[in-house]
Amino acid sequence: QLLISEMASTMLPTELWERILSFCDHPSTCALSKVCQRLDAIVTSRNERVLNKCRSEGITLPADAILAHCLGNADLPLDARLLLAHNPFGCCIFPSTSTVRGFNVGDNEGRQTFLRNEEMEKGTIEFTLDYESIGIPRWIVDGIRPKAITMAGSIQSCRTSP
């Protein structure tokens, strides 16, 4: 028999933590995932379940690179569970989210060039999208910029290889 004085947060089962998380804001949920391994696993599992539900219901999601980046950063207000009811993009933003591996960052008034990895061997196919005109907020573009620079480097090496 457990006494109240012996109760600890570690004794709360995963289902209860998930209910508690449903009342937490996005930055706090992100911060919770950095508290300890168990909470990290619960938050990650919850995000993945919401994303899978989005996919099964045919909701258009941002590319995995953007999602992974946003879900790991408390400062970015993109909440996985909100994607289900309030998909902020409302349209297909990539030719194929599963094949986009990286993109160049160009300074052409907010327009970015995407590269499809599957086409690398035959030559690069480039897509130019105007983020802001299709409702993607500026902070997302800023948020993925470091990753983009890294990817742009590897893409450059693909281009120059024989």
Binding site: L3, E6, L12, C24, S28
Partner: protein, 172 residues
């Protein structure tokens, strides 16, 4: 049909017995199921014998909450994740929980009531206590959360370095 005058005796895991009105227990899915499905004798529900580990002190708090909420509508209106919010706790409930803040084991009391509400299937109490804990967490730093939840950081140095690396660009 619920008969408000009917009495139900609950026996806690530490052997105490409490007799309450059926008007209160109707909010507990578990107790209602025990009475209607499990054919308990004389409306006596031994909580410990049916895998619900609720002690006397916790049950008293649960009954206090049930007494205040005895006229709440049933079934409890479940909300989707998108509809949930933590800032709509009624004033009486806020005062009810704040009383625990003077107790040395106030955080443990909260965990105990959350667990009891879950086991006894009292959704209104479960949501209220989960919101209370969420409100304690919301807006806090990772270190503050560890202190509130009394949790140790068990990430390896490599994992911590990875977390710092992932966040370095936005924290600078």
């Amino acid at each position: 049909r619920i008969y408000p005058l009917m009495r139900v005796t609950l026996t806690t895991s530490d052997g105490a017995s409490v007799t309450v009105s059926r008007q209160l227990t109707k909010h507990s899915g578990f107790i209602e199921k025990a009475i209607t499905d499990m054919a308990v004798d004389d409306n006596a529900v031994p909580l410990s014998a049916v895998a619900v580990d609720v002690d006397d002190a916790t049950l008293k708090l649960v009954i206090e909450w049930l007494t205040e909420h005895r006229d709440d509508a049933l079934p409890y209106p479940e909300k989707t994740d998108e509809e949930r919010r933590a800032d709509d706790i009624p004033a009486w409930d806020q005062a009810f929980v704040q009383k625990w803040d003077t107790k040395e084991d106030q955080q443990q009391t909260l965990y105990a009531v959350i667990t009891a509400a879950d086991k006894l299937d009292i959704k209104g109490l479960l949501d209220m206590t989960c919101k209370t804990l969420a409100n304690k967490i919301n807006g806090k730093t990772v270190e503050e959360m560890r202190e509130i939840l009394q949790l140790e950081c068990d990430f390896t140095e490599e994992e911590l370095a990875e977390i710092r690396k992932e966040n370095a660009w936005c924290e600078n």
